[in-house]
Each structure stands twice: as structure tokens, then as C-alpha cells.
């Protein structure tokens, strides 16, 4: 498939098709109707009189619906096509399709309209291959519906296809005989239900509270979502577009998991990562806190519920650990993959604590913080008891699921992301630097919660002592003397993995950097080796493994930069933070406001436009959250007690910005800022009821 696939979705039910709306096997771009990590349609093709159709246009109206305007292929020579076909499709847990055919001819026409349907019931981890399934498939026609099914033991999936009664069903699809007079229109509707069945034959969703199969994210829901979020007014017109794009995409990324069906938390990315990911959901919730704080509440609640409680080597679970990834498909169910859930990430646990405190700072929601006290204490115990693999009181990781576990359990989770300057890879036990920053921040923030909410001053003092000690040790043990920056990681023998990387920016965000070392860190971040002109590279140019198009070894990640900008603000480097914001937000203009997961690390001078890293997922949650966090950093928004402080430092290309109705413990608040060359002042800010 050469053209861009068309994707629509509702939660974790989604359809990926070509620009004719057809679904068929394609090794390069998997297509189909998917739900709960299973493909329910692998063939869904429309033909008229035995001929496939030609795409004239696609209108993807909303994230949950699309219209395909089609004509018979043979008529491409005749621009005044006599027959028009409109295929209107939407997803609301089920897939619905309305076919409309209009005869513009002076003569009547007789048409055979055919929809071919089939399903391979592939697991999401199998979609790129033609797989041999371990269970058995079946097809039957029952009560006017075509039923495609798959069984493996009690694991039972069905695709129920219901056309209107004029259709003729066979085991491979649906046929309509249509006769249309001049100017006549024919319309039919098909409902396709992906069903996850229990042993009793009912759909699992019917049996769970809070989730009904008719629950939808409708137009009204989207409107309400947009109305609740703050409004942005600015002299930089494209920034308004980027902001709107982010809000709509965040709405699309909301996902109600089976284990907490009444909540919507951000999934990691569309469409292949519409699932719970600890790290991605937490970081996206942090980015979007000033705008849509309900995402953070849902994330904290769900990750707390699913917190690890036992030792499990296959899932890499330990008591107190926050999960990495949860999947519902066949490979998870039969323990061929560990995602039930999988706990292979070393950062989601400290980040959970960071989010809990930041959420409280914004919302003042004492109840949630009080209700999660036990989860938070268990997370803190995990940091001390289970994360210290090397006996040196640093957080480290080493996988113990050697078959299907992850070698790198930090956000840079590809195999070659952690390396020495000369390109060597360290041994399997690794304590990457940003993990220590997160642990430091987690303890400092938990200390505040212990003192203010949990009423445990002794615990607060202990946490602060531990954090202070960690900071002191870290600034000695990780410092690369001859480069004047922090090592990317420590090995088990104490060796410093000495490549220069973007991870040092996360250290600023966490506050673990000694005052005496901040200036050199900032200088490195803004140096030509790390800063490309669009953003900070994951790995500095000149390092052994540097590759401007390597996934975690030279590309620029928008989300990474948003946290680096937050870190620069934390240490008072406003102008530098504004430069980062400007580069990333200018790059968004090349993608119609939708930042990709990553783009190439080429110098801006060289390519003049940001070269997108090719990935299957768009939008990606933490790229979607990036413009929101950058708005926060350029306005200098900080919750201080019951007030919102505003300390703007706008990029030089922005005349003025107003962000209206910022929600928080203060009610609603408006922040305004004007850029005046290099001296930047707030115009006026005001509270609203």
C-alpha cells in the first residue's frame, strides 16, 4: 500500500484500511478491524459488478469516522462518472458502515454489490505475518448474520456481521442486487460487532460494571472535552492549530481498560499502542496536567490498582512496582508474551510518585492522595528493596525474562540505546542516570505528601535524608570529569558509561543536579553536538553509535525536549527553555500540528525541514502532550499553594500568548504574556471564579 492508511478508532477498537476503505493482507502496513488486541476482520473489500473501486477522496471527519468517495475503476477514463459510491464508516466499539450508491445516469442500472469478509483473528503481535493459528476458525450464517469465529480452549472471539435483510449472505461475504433508476439513490447499512466471549457465550463487556457496548465517544463528548480545556489565544496562528490538534488527539487516545472500565486514561499511541503503558500514560498525564487533569487521576488510580504484589520472573513483577504494558490478546492470555501485565520498566514506579505529587500540586485533590498512600509507600519500598540490583543504592535494571523481556527498561528501550563513547555496550545490569533523578524527585515529592497529607513527619524526614544522600553520591559517581557532564549510566562494576546524551536534560527536570554543575549541563544541551536547531538529540553527534536516523541514538524526540525545557525552567534557564520550545513548535508546523514520535537528528541548516522518523503510530501520546508542556514552560506556570504563578519567557517569534481558564485548585485562571525581544513581561493575569 503506497498511500497513507486511514485509521479510525474508539478506545482500543480501531479500523486501519487503505484509501478505498478496503482491508486486505498487506505485509508492509497491517490493516483490519481490531479490538482488544485481536484482529476481527482481515478482509473487508467492496466491489461493484465484480470490479474493485477507485478512491476519489477520503474525508476522515473525526478520529472515529471516515467517508470514502469511490467510483468504479473502469470509469477513470470518463471523468463524468455516472455512478457515485460513498462508504461512510464509524467506530463505536462496533464498526458501522453505510454504503450509498447514486445513479447519475439517464438510464437505469443493475448492480451487483459485493462485500468480501474474512478474519484471521491474529493477535496484535502477529499482524505482520500470515500466521498459523493454534486454535480453529469457523464460519456460519445465523439469524441473518454472518459469523466468523475463532476458538482455542475457552478463548473465543467472534465477528458478527449484520447487513440489512435485502442482503444475500454466504460464508465469504455479502451480496446485494441493486437496480437504480435515473437519479436514484440506494443506501444500506452493515453492523460489524467484534465480540470477546466468555464461557457463557456472553460478551465479556456485558458482564462488567461501568462498560456497556453502546458507550461511545460521540461528537458531544468531544465537544465537552474541548470546552473543558483552557482556550489559547496567540499571535502565532499555527500554535493555536497545534494546540487544538493536541487536544483532539488526546481525546482520541483516551482508553477505558477492562480492569477499570469507567475511566479514560491516555494510551501510548494510535493505533498499535492503544493499551495501558505505565511510562507513557504517566508522562502524558504530566504534560497535560494544566489542561486536562482528569487524565492524571485516571492514570494514578489504574496503575495503583495494577501495582505489582509478588515476584514473577516471566512478567518481571516485584511488590510495589508499577507496570510497563498490559495486553488482552491471545499471546498474553496463553503466556506466549508476558503482557498480563508486563512490569519491565525501571522508571514507571518513581514516575508514578512524581505524578501523584504534581497532580496534587495542581488540583489539591487530598482524597486521591490519601487513598493512594499505601500504593505510594509500596512504590517507595520498591525503589529501596527491589530496584537496587547492584548493592550501591542506585536504581538499576537487568531483565530476567530472557526470551520476551526488554533489555533496556528505561524510556530509550531499544537494544543499542545505552553505550559508551566508543560505541561499546555495557553489561546487562545498568543504572541509567535519569532513573536516579526520578528516584530523587520521587522521594522529595513523597516527603511533601507524607508531611502534608499522610501526617507522617518522621517518614518525610527519612525520605528527605535519603534523597539528599542520593543527590550527593550521584553528583560524584556519575560525573564524567573530562567531559563535564553526567554519564549515561553506571555498570555493575561502577564504570561510567560515558556517552553524552539527552538524558542529562531529564536530570535538570528532576532537580538532582548540583548548582555548581548546572551551567555545564545547560551548555552541553544547547551545544551543536546535542542541539540540532530543531531540538536536543537523544545522543550527541560524534559519539560512537551516533546516527541521525537511529531510533534512540541521534534522533530528536519532541517529548524528550518538552521535559528538558521543563528542567531548564526548573533551574531558571528561561531563554534556553524558550529556544527548545520554539524549535519543537516550529517543527510541528511541518506536520499540520501533529508532532511525530521522533525526527532525524540532522542539523536544521542541512535539511531546512524536520525529517520524520518512520513509525507506524501516529499520534503518539507523549508527542501529543508535548505542545501542552511547552506552553506551560513558556508561560512559566507553577502552582504555588492555592495560586498559579505565571513567569513567562516566550520564544522570540511570538508576540503574545493568552491561555484562558486554566483549571486547578484556584478555580480557573487566565495567563497572558507578551514577548518583547529579549525582555519578557507578563501583561496581566487574573483569577476567575
Amino acid at each position: 500500500m503506497k498511500e497513507e492508511p486511514v485509521r479510525i478508532l474508539d478506545g482500543n477498537t480501531f479500523v486501519v484500511s487503505n484509501d478505498r476503505g478496503d482491508v486486505e493482507f498487506d505485509p508492509s502496513v497491517p490493516t483490519g478491524l481490531f479490538s482488544y488486541d485481536t484482529r476481527f476482520l482481515s478482509t473487508w473489500t467492496l466491489s461493484v459488478n465484480g470490479e474493485r473501486l477507485e478512491s476519489l477522496a477520503v474525508d476522515d471527519l473525526q478520529y472515529y469516522e471516515a467517508k470514502f468517495f469511490l467510483s468504479p475503476e473502469a470509469e477513470t477514463l470518463y471523468p463524468n462518472s455516472r455512478i457515485s459510491i460513498i462508504r461512510h464508516r464509524w467506530v463505536r466499539q462496533t464498526m458501522e458502515e453505510r454504503l450509498t450508491i447514486i445513479n447519475y445516469d439517464q438510464m437505469p442500472v443493475s448492480l451487483t454489490v459485493r462485500v468480501d469478509a474474512a478474519s484471521d483473528f491474529a493477535d496484535l503481535f502477529e499482524v505482520k505475518e500470515r500466521v498459523t493459528k493454534k486454535g480453529s476458525t469457523f464460519t456460519r450464517i445465523e439469524d441473518g448474520a454472518l459469523i466468523l469465529g475463532y476458538r482455542r480452549g475457552n478463548f473465543h472471539r467472534r465477528t458478527v456481521i449484520r447487513p440489512d435483510p435485502t442482503a444475500r449472505l454466504d460464508e465469504r461475504g455479502i451480496t446485494y442486487n441493486v437496480t437504480l433508476g435515473p437519479q436514484q439513490t440506494w443506501v444500506t447499512e452493515i453492523l460489524v460487532e467484534p465480540r470477546v466471549l466468555t464461557r457463557s457465550g456472553r460478551d465479556v463487556r456485558e458482564q462488567l460494571e461501568g462498560l456497556s457496548v453502546t458507550r461511545t465517544q460521540t461528537d458531544r463528548d468531544l465537544d465537552e472535552w474541548l470546552n473543558r480545556a483552557p482556550r489559547l489565544r496567540t499571535s502565532w496562528q499555527s500554535l493555536e492549530g497545534t494546540y487544538q490538534r493536541s487536544l483532539v488527539d488526546l481525546a482520541a487516545l483516551r482508553f477505558a481498560p477492562l480492569t477499570a472500565p469507567d475511566q479514560g486514561l491516555p494510551a501510548a499511541g494510535l493505533p498499535w499502542f492503544m493499551s495501558i503503558f505505565g511510562r507513557d500514560s504517566i508522562l502524558t498525564s504530566l504534560q497535560s496536567l494544566p489542561f486536562v487533569p482528569e487524565l492524571a487521576a485516571a492514570t494514578l488510580g489504574l496503575l495503583g490498582t495494577l501495582q505489582g504484589s509478588r515476584l514473577d520472573d516471566f512478567r518481571e513483577e516485584e511488590p510495589g512496582k508499577i507496570l510497563h504494558e498490559f495486553r488482552y490478546g491471545e499471546s498474553a492470555a496463553f503466556e506466549e508474551q508476558p503482557h498480563s501485565p508486563y512490569f519491565g520498566s525501571a522508571d514507571s514506579t518513581p514516575l508514578f510518585l512524581v505524578l501523584l505529587d504534581e497532580y496534587h500540586l495542581w488540583t489539591g485533590d487530598d482524597d486521591l492522595v490519601a487513598s493512594l498512600e499505601h500504593r505510594a509507600r509500596a512504590a517507595l519500598r520498591w525503589i529501596d528493596e527491589y530496584a537496587d540490583l547492584m548493592g550501591n543504592r542506585y536504581v538499576s535494571y537487568q531483565r530476567r525474562n530472557d526470551q520476551t523481556g526488554l533489555a533496556n527498561q528505561c524510556w530509550k528501550d531499544s537494544w543499542d540505546s545505552i553505550s559508551y563513547r566508543d560505541g561499546r555496550l555495557p553489561g546487562p545490569a545498568r543504572a541509567t542516570c535519569e532513573l536516579q533523578g526520578y528516584a530523587y524527585d520521587a522521594k522529595m515529592r513523597a516527603a511533601r505528601l507524607a508531611r502534608e497529607i499522610w501526617g507522617d513527619v518522621g517518614f518525610a524526614q527519612r525520605l528527605e535524608r535519603e534523597a539528599t544522600d542520593l543527590k550527593r553520591r550521584f553528583n560524584q559517581d556519575y560525573w564524567v570529569e573530562d567531559g563535564e557532564y553526567f554519564a549515561l549510566a553506571l555498570e555493575a562494576d561502577g564504570s561510567k558509561v560515558d556517552a553524552l546524551s539527552s538524558n542529562i536534560g531529564h536530570l535538570l527536570w528532576s532537580g538532582i543536579v548540583d548548582a555548581s554543575r548546572v551551567q555545564s549541563i545547560v551548555d552541553h544541551l544547547m551545544s551543536p553536538r546535542l542541539y540540532s536547531g530543531w531540538g536536543v538529540r537523544t545522543l550527541a553527534a560524534g559519539e560512537g553509535r551516533y546516527n541521525p536516523v537511529g531510533y534512540h541514538v541521534g534522533t530528536v524526540w519532541p517529548f524528550d525536549n518538552s521535559f528538558i525545557a521543563w528542567g531548564l525552567r526548573r533551574y531558571g534557564y528561561k531563554e534556553e527553555a524558550a529556544r527548545i520550545a520554539q524549535g519543537i513548535l516550529e517543527s510541528a508546523e511541518f506536520f499540520e500540528g501533529r508532532l511525530p514520535e521522533a525526527f532525524a537528528g540532522y542539523d536544521r541548516e542541512l535539511t531546512r525541514y524536520p525529517v520524520q522518523y518512520p513509525t507506524a503510530c501516529s499520534p503518539q501520546a507523549w508527542s501529543t502532550g508535548t505542545p501542552l508542556l511547552l506552553l506551560r514552560t513558556m508561560l512559566g506556570l507553577e502552582p504555588i499553594g492555592d495560586h498559579l504563578a505565571v513567569d513567562p519567557a516566550l520564544p522570540t517569534n511570538i508576540g503574545w500568548v493568552g491561555l484562558l481558564d486554566i483549571p486547578g485548585r484556584w478555580g480557573r485562571f487566565d495567563a497572558f504574556a507578551r514577548g518583547r525581544g529579549e525582555s519578557l513581561v507578563p501583561v496581566v493575569s487574573r483569577f476567575r471564579g
Binding site: 480452549g153 475457552n154 478463548f155 473465543h156 466471549l197 466468555t198 464461557r199 457463557s200 465479556v204 458482564q207 462488567l208 460494571e209 477492562l258 480492569t259 477499570a260 472500565p261 490498582t305 495494577l306 504484589s309 509478588r310 515476584l311 514473577d312 520472573d313 516471566f314 513483577e317 516485584e318 488482552y328 498474553a332 492470555a333 496463553f334 503466556e335 498480563s340 501485565p341 487513598s371 493512594l372 498512600e373 499505601h374 500504593r375 509500596a378 527491589y386 540490583l389 547492584m390 548493592g391 550501591n392 543504592r393 542506585y394 537487568q398 530476567r400 545490569a429 543504572a431 553520591r473 559517581d477 553506571l490 555493575a492 562494576d493 561502577g494
Partner: protein, 134 residues
């Protein structure tokens, strides 16, 4: 309705032993914030063996027998025996539909904390004998 009956036969019944242990402990800090009732209906082929767990802020009482519950879990007794000894996983049993849940599934997810982990788990690999960095 019987209070925590002993297994009827001489060989140890892993399910009864697990519920004994839970009942004897009386409290689980892992469920400190949890309120709710869960009933396990264990299928023995010719009859259903029910266990009712009532959780109030971490205090747990166990009843061998039926009763209304916020969450009802149905599965074969054999499978629950294996869960009770760390030889089967509750979440994957749910995903395979070997176990069926009606009502508030979140309660089952929380109560899974009372089940033992895999019997052969080693836990994190600690790198011993390194010279350390601290």
C-alpha cells in the same frame, strides 16, 4: 453456610488452605484501601463450591458458602487449586476465559494480591561482588 470448613478428604486441599491462611491472617495491608465482597464459585463438576470474601479496609473475613457479592468469579476448582499454589495466573485465566467474572472486575484485580506468585520465581538478579559505585 460453614465457617472455613476443613477439606473433606485427607490430602491437603490447596484452595481450602489458601482461604484458611487468608482468614487466619485476618488482615492484608495490600488491600488496605479496599472495600467490597467477592465470591468464588468453584466448579467441581457435579456441584459448585463457593467461598465469600468480605474486605473492609484491609480486614478480611472468609466464609465457605454463598452470599451476594459485588464481584462473582466462576472457574474450575482444579484451576483455582493451581492458582492457590502459584502454578496458574489469575489474569491470564481471565484473558483465556477459563475464568469468568461478573460485576466489579477491579475487585478481582485487587484480590489477586492475595494469591501467591509463581512457585519458582527467583526475583531480581542481584549483581553480587561488584565493587559498587557509592
Amino acid at each position: 453456610m460453614r465457617q472455613c470448613a476443613q477439606p473433606p478428604e485427607n490430602q491437603p486441599d490447596p484452595t481450602a488452605m489458601l482461604f484458611e491462611r487468608i482468614s487466619h491472617a485476618g488482615r492484608a495491608d495490600a488491600l488496605a484501601e479496599v472495600d467490597g465482597t467477592v465470591r468464588f464459585d468453584l466448579n467441581l463438576g457435579d456441584r459448585i463450591d463457593s467461598w465469600l470474601l468480605i474486605v473492609q479496609r484491609g480486614q478480611i473475613s472468609v466464609t465457605h458458602g454463598g452470599g451476594d457479592a459485588d464481584c462473582v468469579v466462576e472457574l474450575d476448582k482444579d484451576l483455582f487449586d493451581r492458582m492457590a499454589t502459584g502454578h496458574a495466573n489469575a489474569m491470564t485465566a481471565l484473558l483465556r476465559a477459563d475464568m469468568m467474572v461478573t460485576g466489579d472486575v477491579k475487585l478481582l484485580v485487587l484480590l489477586e494480591r492475595l494469591l501467591p506468585g509463581p512457585a519458582k520465581a527467583h526475583g531480581p538478579r542481584r549483581t553480587v561482588g561488584s565493587r559498587g559505585a557509592g
